[in-house]
Amino acid sequence: MHLSVNGVSKTFGDGRHAKLVLDDISFSIKSGEFVALVGSSGSGKSTVMRLIAGLERPSAGVIALDGKSVDGPGSDRGMVFQKYSLYPWMTAAQNVAFGMSLQGLPRALVRERTAYFLEVVGLQDAARRLPKELSGGMQQRVAIARALAADPKVVLLDEPFGALDLQIRETMQEFLYQLWQRSGITALLITHDLEEALLLAQRVHIMAPRPGRIVRTVEADLDRSNLAHLRVSPPFLELREELVTTLRNLDAAAI
């Protein structure tokens, strides 16, 4: 699996109202990688993701998955939104099963894989509950299970924990990291939280706004055997501090 974003720009509107939102974005993700895009709000992160998902078309440049140019949404690129986009009338299990059933998988297989992915996210006991009966963290775990169950080549996560309380956010970060380690998925995480990006991703692209562009790429080669330790370890804090300064200067320059 190889996802490449090559020289992609995006302009919304036309004529006098044209607004350049992304300027010449390039990066790529290989099978099994965990990559993060981080930047302040408005720097165009969600737009990058929507372009990869095929929900928007680039104004210039090419996005390709395994050499094939992306020209619309498809189940090979799964997506998890910040706002719980669970179907409120479906139980947790029905939500997880939805993609597979849209794709016409045999019922028995759907049932088996639904049970499997609910277990992967630790929600086998909540299978029959409606989204409104689940906590925010549980809802996001269902959304992640639903995306994975559709068997995508890459999972796109747009601020998946942005609406959660700090405490739960940390638990969910560790959950996502372990999930990635165990299941060998390929993930692109979008976040405005530098700590989250550095903690989870092997490679972090830092974006600056107006127009959105990648200004720096960091290979975050860290010992992730214990995320709770990593959070407070001196090398991590140093790297974070340095990047926070970078980001702050960028924002100051942009204002």
């Binding site: 095929g54 949404p73 690129r77 997506m79 939104f81 179907y87 849209l102 639903r146 559709a150």
Partner: protein, 258 residues
């Protein structure tokens, strides 16, 4: 302490205060007619109205009338609901169709349906068809526009999620849009059913052989206020039952929405 909290509970229970309100009106009505201050020709006593209802019921007229009116309402409304659903969905999901039809429907919606009665009578005579069509005209445009609005407000993320899960046009319509708008559609039907019920009475006042509206206008000719009261109360009760039916349907089929 205990009695005051149980009183507060009773005040919150809809099955307590509602009947109290109805009972008070019945009481005031009885007192006025007992006092003899109002001519029974204008205000028949509750027992007289009850007697008139019993007579009509035993004579079979009440049931025939009710069935005639209900049939017209259900035929006209079923036609309206069945056509409004696909058209409302098409307008809500396709901006071109919406731009083409919304001004037209918005205009017709403001033409009072009873104003179509003369035209309907010229076209279709005095039979069942013009009455059914009147109910159709009076509810179709509201049903369509309300369904259109419901479709327009389906959250973008729900549609986009389905696309990234491998969904396409028609399956997304039937498996995401339809269930999402179901509560609003049922509620639109409930609200517009009330005007269907109003219209059937208007249509029967103008021309009909039987029906609850027809009975009222006949009663007026013979100054039978007791029968007018019976007609009004029965019309109200049937309308209320239909409304409660829609509410029950909403509660049972859309547990997730509450």
């Amino acid at each position: 302490m205990r009695s005051s909290s149980s009183l507060a509970g009773a005040l919150r229970n809809p099955w307590v205060l509602g009947p109290v309100g109805i009972a008070s009106v019945l009481l005031i009505w009885s007192l006025i007619s007992l006092s003899g201050t109002v001519d029974p020709l204008f205000l028949p006593s509750p027992p007289a109205v009850w007697q008139a209802a019993a007579d009509q019921f035993h004579g079979g007229i009440l049931v025939t009338d009710a069935i005639a009116s209900i049939q017209r309402v259900f035929l006209g409304f079923a036609l309206s609901a069945a056509l409004a659903l696909p058209l409302g969905i098409a307008m809500g999901s396709n901006p071109l169709i919406c731009r083409l039809l919304e001004p037209l429907l918005g205009l017709i919606r403001y033409m009072p349906a009873p104003a179509f009665i003369p035209l309907l009578i010229i076209y279709f005579g005095l039979g069942e068809l013009p009455k059914v069509l009147l109910i159709f005209i009076g509810t179709f445009f509201f049903n369509t526009l309300m369904i259109m609005d419901a479709v327009k407000f389906v959250p973008q993320e729900l549609l986009e999620t389905a696309l990234t899960l491998g969904g396409r046009g028609l399956p997304i319509l039937t498996r995401v849009v339809a269930p999402y708008i179901a509560p609003q559609v049922i509620d639109a039907y409930r609200i517009n059913m009330a005007s269907a019920w109003n219209l059937v009475i208007v249509a029967e006042l103008v021309a009909a052989n039987e029906g609850l509206g027809k009975r009222i206008s006949l009663a007026q000719r013979f100054l039978r206020t007791d029968e007018i009261f019976v007609g009004l109360i029965v019309i109200g009760l049937i309308g209320l039952l239909i409304d409660l039916g829609f509410r029950a349907l909403l509660r049972r089929s859309c547990r997730w929405a509450s």
